[in-house]
């Protein structure tokens, strides 16, 4: 009889979980629909492409954040890290440009990936080997990276060398068969991320560590190693975002990537990933990133609400999403 009860409950539970999984995509659909009703310009393909392209940075970083958060961690340093990586990359490119010409861009990108990975490794090792709360560690490195970029730009702007602009520009502004490169890059990162998280042994071990680190440890999973790698993945995602970002504005400044960590965490959480770990939703995170960007765009187009309030609306969304989550779970 108890078994019967359990099974019944499961059937219910299951359909509810499915709904929760779809929730971010449904929300995205609803917001797009609202946008279309409010302003017909919203649905123009130029505007939509623009919105999707701009959401690429947050989406790419959010893929990494999905790894970190589902492993039971948190990374507040991504915004500052992104600015720091951008700075290092521009300096490398500018330094190499006279000798190597356009190849400096490729080399700079490579350096960015390495620096991003090292930044992630630094976060990861302090957290796992030093056994310090991820919140505290990444709060610290957030300040460190931010100070570095301010120092590197001398409080002003660090522009990319003129000779490289033309060659680098297409990485953000160009397209392949009508699809902008940043969108393609995002797609590759997301597919790769989804494959690693859902299809590989590493992904399974990561989610186990986030779900219950003791169970993972007792089952022979190297929890510290698994978590450290998650931060390295996060760092590399940040580097990829930086590579896409530089041609957009052509410079690094002390405010580059400021408060991005909040947008990233918001995107991941409204995408359905549990903040306490154990459940990662890569595609949900992408939907989350799109939701944030679409809302900002609709507000700019609508004139009904000042665009200065965009952050307030985005902030409200994370709270509403969590309340909706709580409500559907307790019913």
């Amino acid at each position: 009889m108890t078994t019967a009860t359990a099974t019944m409950a499961t059937a219910e539970e299951r359909s509810r979980i499915r709904w929760a999984d779809f929730a971010p995509f449904i929300a995205l659909g609803v917001i797009v629909l609202l946008g279309a009703l409010i302003n017909s310009n919203f649905t123009s393909s130029a505007n939509l492409m623009n919105v999707i392209t701009r959401s690429a940075f947050i989406a790419i970083i959010a893929v990494g954040a999905t790894f970190v958060i589902s492993s039971g961690g948190l990374d507040l340093s991504v915004g500052s890290m992104m600015a720091f990586v951008t700075g290092i990359m521009i300096m490398t490119m500018n330094g190499l440009a006279p000798t190597y010409g356009s190849w400096a861009i490729v080399m700079g990108g490579g350096v960015a990936l390495v620096v991003g990975a090292l930044c992630g490794l630094f976060n990861g090792l302090i957290i796992t080997v030093g056994r310090i709360e991820p919140f505290i560690v990444t709060l610290g490195t957030m300040g460190i990276f931010r100070a570095f970029i301010t120092f590197m730009t001398d409080g002003g702007s660090l522009p990319i060398d003129r000779s490289l602009r033309e060659a680098y520009r297409p990485v953000y502004f160009g397209n392949f068969l009508g699809i902008p490169y940043p969108v393609l890059i995002t797609l590759v990162v997301v597919l790769l991320g989804a494959f690693i998280l859902y299809r590989t042994k590493y992904g399974r071990r990561l989610v186990s560590s986030g779900s219950n680190s003791e169970v993972a440890r007792f089952s022979g999973v190297n929890v510290g190693g698994v978590r450290t790698i998650a931060y390295v993945i996060q760092g590399m995602c940040v580097a990829v975002a930086a590579i896409c970002y530089v041609p957009r504005l052509g410079a690094a400044t002390p405010t580059t990537g400021q408060l991005w960590e909040l947008q990233v965490i918001t995107a991941v959480v409204i995408g359905g990933t549990l903040l306490r770990g154990g459940k990662g939703r890569i595609w949900g995170s992408v939907a989350g990133a799109l939701i944030l960007e679409v809302i900002a765009n609709v507000m700019v187009l609508s004139d009904m609400v000042s665009e200065y309030l965009v952050a307030a609306v985005q902030g409200a969304i994370i709270i509403i999403a969590m309340l909706a989550h709580r409500f559907t779970r307790n019913r």
């Binding site: 009889m1 108890t2 009860t5 299951r14 299809r199 042994k201 590493y202 219950n212 169970v215």
Partner: protein, 527 residues
Amino acid sequence: MSALCDIDGASAPQAVAMQTAGLGKAYGPITVLSDVALDIVAGEVHAIIGENGAGKSTLMKLLSGHVQPTTGRIFIDGKPVEFADAVQAEAAGIVLVHQEILLAPDLTVAQNLYLGRELTRGWMVDDRAMNRRTAELLVQVGSVVHPEDRVGDLPLAQRQLVQIARALLNEHKVVILDEPTAVLANDEVEALLEIVRNLCNHGVAVLYISHRLEEVEALADRITVLRDGRMIGTWPAAGLTQRQMAELMVGRELDMLYPPKREADHGQTLLEVVDLEVENGSWSASFSVRAGEVLGIGGMIGAGRTELIEGLMGLRASSAASVTVNGQKITERSVRTLMGAGLVYLTEDRKGKGLLLEEELAPNLALQAMDTISPGVVLNRRGEIAALKQAVSDYDIRVRSLTLEAGQLSGGNQQKLLLAKVMMTDPSIVIIDEPTRGIDIGNKSQIYDFIDKMVRAGKACIVISSEMQELVGLADRVLVMRNGRIVAELNGDDIKEKTVIYAATSGRKMTTGEEGHDHSDRNDGDR
């Protein structure tokens, strides 16, 4: 042995404190409990027994207002009552002490006791008064802790006593104890039974739920048996033996609970541990186990048994002169390297350290043997499902659907899943910590059979158990630990409940002279 609170003694006629008629509970179309007609007399200990899933917990929740009945009524002092929640039930004099510890670990004992009903003096909480009253209650329940101790720092058994003290804060007519001894060691159990007797001497009715039939036999005045959501009947405890109770619970004659002992013809040594020292756990322990042998490790809770093994597995800081697994010297001990050499450990804490309760069955089963099932980088999901189907049939894991989450299984099925999980790695030595904690008698017997089968197949098994009967029934050899040391090794016919307890409490082996006239211990009832 029983009837400590004499219900039909010379004292004043006893009033029925609580009564139910036709009490039942259904969730949608599924009835989990029906037609319970119970009467509970003031001053008695009324035991409720039944297998897991028989409806005991539901009944307790109905009586204590945590769940509302769909049929039937509850009467207190002859008057019908309805409880909207546990607070109303408590106001009516009925309190449930949960099986799980529900205390805030960062608050002090006194703060926990008075949580939600703090004593105040004007606008301020009156800590002094609360601490004073708490100290009195703690003495009453035989607890040694201080009112200002942080609950998180206390051992489990003391937390359980704090929880009981909390239930005694107000005067109650009926106190419901749900498996109160599940986490207690033997001497603590004795103390608890004494508290229960004390309570009923003061006219309180105690509803006592326990898996341990020897406690029920020692304590209860009357026994009500539940099976498959129905009430089978109520009997005076004096008329029932433990065996009869067990048979009423399962509804059939009991087969032999323990498999017959194997010939003492063991193979080569599979595991040899020399001078293992575990931080805060053991002092220089050496032991070995051979193929075809079940080695028992006995002792009281807190004797360092689990710590010893967790240290061996590299899960705690430890050092050893040498550890040899299957003839292979192990230099760096970790779950992974030992698993590779053929040694696995099945934890006592299946919910906290064994299974991912929110994950489905297949990922749980495959977590430890992942490299065997998926040799490459990519997961072999089809292989995992095939392994799950195999495990479900091999270990008789009762599931309606393979996509359940592990947390939705009953305790017995979780334990079988956990056993299947470690066996997936094809070990030659299996260490099982509390193999049957909190599971019903049918599953117990199956687990014993699995252990017997693996040992007959030439594996070695180490069983840590707080149930002396289990060690007596299963083990070919028993090591007894006390205060982090192995104090005795018992072989063959020397393994008796009495000798194990003696060594566990005194720290030395019972000599032949001390044994005296002993003929009742070898657990004949179940064999």
